[in-house]
Amino acid sequence: MHPGIIFFLVILGSILFHIFTPWYWTDVASNWGGMDDTITLTFWIGGGVFIAVCLFMVYCVFKFSYKEGRRAEYKPEDKKLEKILTWATTIGVVALLAPGLVIWNNYVNVPKNAIEVDVMAWQWGWQYRLPGKDGKLGTTQVVNINDNNPFGINTDDPYGKDDVMIQSDVLNLENNKPVKILLRSVDVLHNWYVPQFRAKMDAVPGIVTYYWFEPNKVGEYEVLCVEYCGVGHYAMRGGVIVQSDQDYKNWLEQQETYSDLIAKQQNKEINKKKLAKKIN
């Protein structure tokens, strides 16, 4: 068989695979559908170039196979052709870059009405903190973290007192409401990623990173850690439940705040002291 045929079949197979693949992205469940569109655009332009280049190659292989006595063309340069190709490529590249940059501009500029969510990562798990009635999260320090202060909230920060603490790896979110995910880590790099939301960012110890999205489909989603963080990396999962307005409010009311926790601790202390007194 002529090698050109096999190469042709490889190209054809790639196209068919792309069309009929059962492995493709999950339905987008956030506002980042634009990322999918850019990918599709890149597929059209890039895939077109791939097919064109490879088919041209296959054609050459058929047409100009070695013949004894035939001379190849002698033409060291073709300035005009090279110029055309350079400009065509440049235009293609600009067409890909422009939408990419526009979306990135959206990505780094968080809408004013976004709810901040503090996502705290460690080896290997997640927990979450939502702002309380004041709508603001308190500041934190890694050194403050202990059993009585699982998030390391600065005790002198008034904004921290009413923060809602979710000591579980499942986070509830309100549908159609933008959230600003504030990521931090207490030990190594992590990355909080829900494939359906498309967006992701590393959690870096020592700083706070962020990204935002607006969930737009009610449902349950799985959170994956996608930045390698040690042997437990592959098992570091979490969950997101996107709920309607009312369900979310109900859920939020049942959650414990930092001041609840402090009160509980104090009660415990008092009870302990009372108990000690009784025994004595």
Partner: protein, 111 residues
């Protein structure tokens, strides 16, 4: 390289130029030391430090390392890669400003 040698031997530089540069380097070092002595602060300190630094570096490279007399082919090969360093410096300044911003904002002041 024999004929090259003969030529170079004839055109080594006068001792005066070396002594001049030598003297200038001492003076510039003295000046940059004075920046600290008089305790200048802020932009003035920064620009003085950088000016004296680059003047000294330039004098050493140009005259002690003979770059002033080298052909452009060599000089350009040596200097163009510094753009990558310049880019690296520029971006790392933006990076540490961002780092220190998030640290102050999320770990100290808040709000």
């Amino acid at each position: 390289m024999d004929e090259t040698k003969k030529k170079e031997q004839a055109t080594t530089h006068k001792i005066g130029i070396y002594l001049w540069i030598w003297g200038l380097l001492f003076v510039l070092s003295f000046f940059s030391y004075m920046v600290d002595w008089y305790n200048f602060q802020g932009m003035l300190r920064w620009s003085l430090i950088l000016i004296f630094m680059f003047l000294k570096a330039g004098l050493i490279m140009a005259f002690f390392m003979h770059l002033f007399w080298e052909r452009y082919a060599l000089v350009n090969v040596l200097l163009w890669p510094m753009t990558a360093i310049a880019c690296f410096i520029f971006l790392m300044v933006a990076e540490f400003e961002y780092t220190v911003f998030t640290r102050i904002f999320y770990f100290v002041t808040g709000g």
